[in-house]
């Protein structure tokens, strides 16, 4: 019997994956199924969930309420999507030059430069956002510094009204996810063979052409990975908007959280959560399909 087990690699493999499958079923598949079931339910007057089958929560989310058309929730969904797109584009624009700079630095200095990117991540997520509150608020660091400079140059200065606002939320999001874009882009840039640059130079490509025809396509896998690592958490966040946006900036994450904890309407919160999941999965699937192809073209 022991001998048979030793030879049965299929059974061994299955036993190795079994704990993972168990955790994924209990902590992911069952919870998501329960969320879907709840989203078709209703809430009674005391805030208890009544399990029925109604699409009312979903209709309400996309604007069709019992009282007629109301695009409140639709606007929240679109605002979250727009903010996530803005954040991702800004993060790529900031991360790419730095990743390129590190990848081109002398080899023995690269690790230290990369390490410098990671240190801020080891403080705490919440504390980093709180630091931005200290910088951006009315009497905060930024306004004091600008006021000081204006005073020196004797220019009249009006303190900037940056916090709380949607702009502050955007700054906080960019800050939180910048390192997650720098790392994958650096990894893909670092893998590029130096001989490719030499070949491009031999073929009389100038720096600009070399970048667009060699560097950019070969670093796409890093950009794709970084985009997923940025876009997915940003679209679902509620903390950054809660702290830096005051109560003004409501994103789909805030909507879900409030429906569960303040408004005590789990069916509606579940429906919003499912819409968020479908939106995220749909977009990441489309994005990886689309740009996965670009990778193959570059390889060819």
């Amino acid at each position: 019997m022991i001998q048979r087990f030793r030879e049965n690699r299929r059974l061994q493999g299955f036993l190795l994956i079994l704990p993972t499958l168990f955790v994924m079923v209990v902590m992911l598949i069952i919870p998501l199924t329960l969320t879907v079931v709840t989203s078709f339910g209703q809430r009674d007057a005391d805030g208890n969930v009544i399990y029925t089958f109604t699409l009312e929560n979903y209709w309400r989310l996309i604007g069709f309420t019992e009282q007629g058309w109301d695009d409140l929730y639709l606007r929240i969904l679109l605002r979250s999507l727009w903010l996530a797109l803005q954040t991702t584009v800004i993060v790529i624009a900031m991360a790419y030059p730095l990743a390129y700079f590190i990848a081109r630095a002398p080899e023995k200095r690269r690790n230290s430069l990369l390490f410098l990117v990671l240190i801020p991540l080891w403080t705490n997520f919440i504390i980093r956002i709180y630091a931005w509150v200290m910088i951006l608020r009315g009497q905060g660091v930024l306004n004091s510094a600008l006021g000081g400079v204006a005073g020196l140059l004797s220019i009249p200065f009006q303190p900037l009204d940056l916090y709380p606002s949607q702009g502050a939320v955007l700054i906080g999001m960019v800050y939180e996810f910048l390192p997650f874009m720098i790392l994958p882009i650096y990894t893909s840039l670092e893998k590029i063979e130096p001989s490719l640059y030499e070949a491009a130079a031999d073929l009389y490509a100038n720096a600009f052409r070399t970048f667009w025809r060699v560097t950019a396509p070969l670093s796409m896998p890093g950009v794709v990975a970084g985009t997923i690592l940025t876009f997915v958490p940003v679209i679902g966040t509620f903390v950054v908007s809660d702290i830096l946006g005051g109560r003004q900036v409501i994103l789909v994450g805030n909507l879900v959280q409030r429906q569960f904890l303040d408004a005590r309407n789990p069916p509606f919160g579940s429906a919003a959560s499912i819409i968020l999941l479908l939106m995220t999965l749909g977009l990441t699937l489309y994005y990886t399909r689309r740009f996965g192809l670009g990778e193959e073209i570059a390889a060819g």
Partner: protein, 279 residues
């Protein structure tokens, strides 16, 4: 990539991005010496009590809530890291080296948490636990004091769940170039599976396992959203504690705490880097 001549613009942009990354950290550290309790404006360096400029650091060590939150955070991070590293490494070995029924499905299942927004997972787990605990409490007719509630246990289980896919990803990358003949050679020389695993396989995959464990530890320390939905009485972590303070007044103690945090991390990473370069 070879180092060729560098453009001054690239250097300037890189310095600006580094500046952006460090501005909040510097502000955090400077304000940990603030004389103002409300911590809105910097009103000079504090000089109070026997600790002088380190007043807030001394206050910190008298604050039971902060100490409890630190302990909870570390307990959760250590436990969930150890368990998720073991389970995740097993999964990586299975996916990279074995063929079995349901392999494709397992691979998809493992990518799913990475592309699922954390709040969706957090809400789902909250729904599951509240339903399961409600059902068990009424089934067993537990007295109010004995009722099952959310707490350290539920947070640890949730952290294990979101860490496993990341551990598997990192360990698999390391297994990619693994030479199976090394294990075969060990077996030919009379080693059994256990000895082969301990003396050949484990040392070869150890750097990957360590990197996976580091990632799991960092994710757990930093997690807010999933902890927020799965925590309960007696399981306040540092992020949850600071979030609660933000609704009232944040004193410079929080800044002192994050300054110590950064220093500890720097020392630990510095020591491990030093050991690596010595080898």
């Amino acid at each position: 990539m070879s180092s060729t001549k560098r453009s001054p613009w690239l250097l300037l942009v890189s310095l600006l991005v580094y500046g952006f990354l460090y501005a909040p950290i510097i502000v955090l550290i400077v304000f940990s010496f603030n004389a103002s309790r409300t911590n809105v404006m910097f009103e000079g360096i504090v000089n109070q009590g026997p600790c002088g400029p380190f007043y807030w650091y001394c206050q910190l060590f008298r604050n039971r809530d902060v100490l409890d939150a630190t302990r909870n955070t570390l307990v959760i991070a250590l436990t969930s890291t150890i368990i998720s590293t073991i389970i995740g490494t097993m999964a990586a070995l299975a996916l990279q080296r074995f063929d079995f029924f349901g392999k494709r499905a397992s691979e998809t299942a493992l990518y799913f948490p990475i592309v699922t927004p954390e709040i969706v997972m957090g809400i789902g787990i909250l729904v599951l636990f509240s339903a399961a605990f409600g059902w068990l409490n009424s089934l067993l007719a537990l007295a109010p004091a004995q009722r099952l509630t959310m707490g350290l246990g539920t947070v640890i289980i949730s952290h294990i769940a979101f860490s496993i896919p990341f551990v598997t990803l990192v360990v698999r990358a390391r297994l990619h170039g693994f030479d199976n003949r090394l294990e075969e050679a060990a077996m030919d020389l009379g080693a059994n599976e256990l000895i082969t695993f301990r003396k050949v396989t484990l040392p070869l995959i150890a750097p990957g396992v360590l990197a996976g464990a580091m990632l799991a530890f960092t994710l757990s320390l930093d997690d807010f959203i999933i902890t927020f939905f799965t925590t309960g009485p007696g399981a306040t972590t540092l992020p949850i504690y600071v979030y609660g303070l933000l609704r009232r007044v944040v004193t410079p103690e929080v800044n002192a705490l994050s300054t110590i945090w950064i220093l500890v991390v720097l020392v630990v990473v510095g020591i491990s880097q030093w050991f690596q370069t010595r080898e």
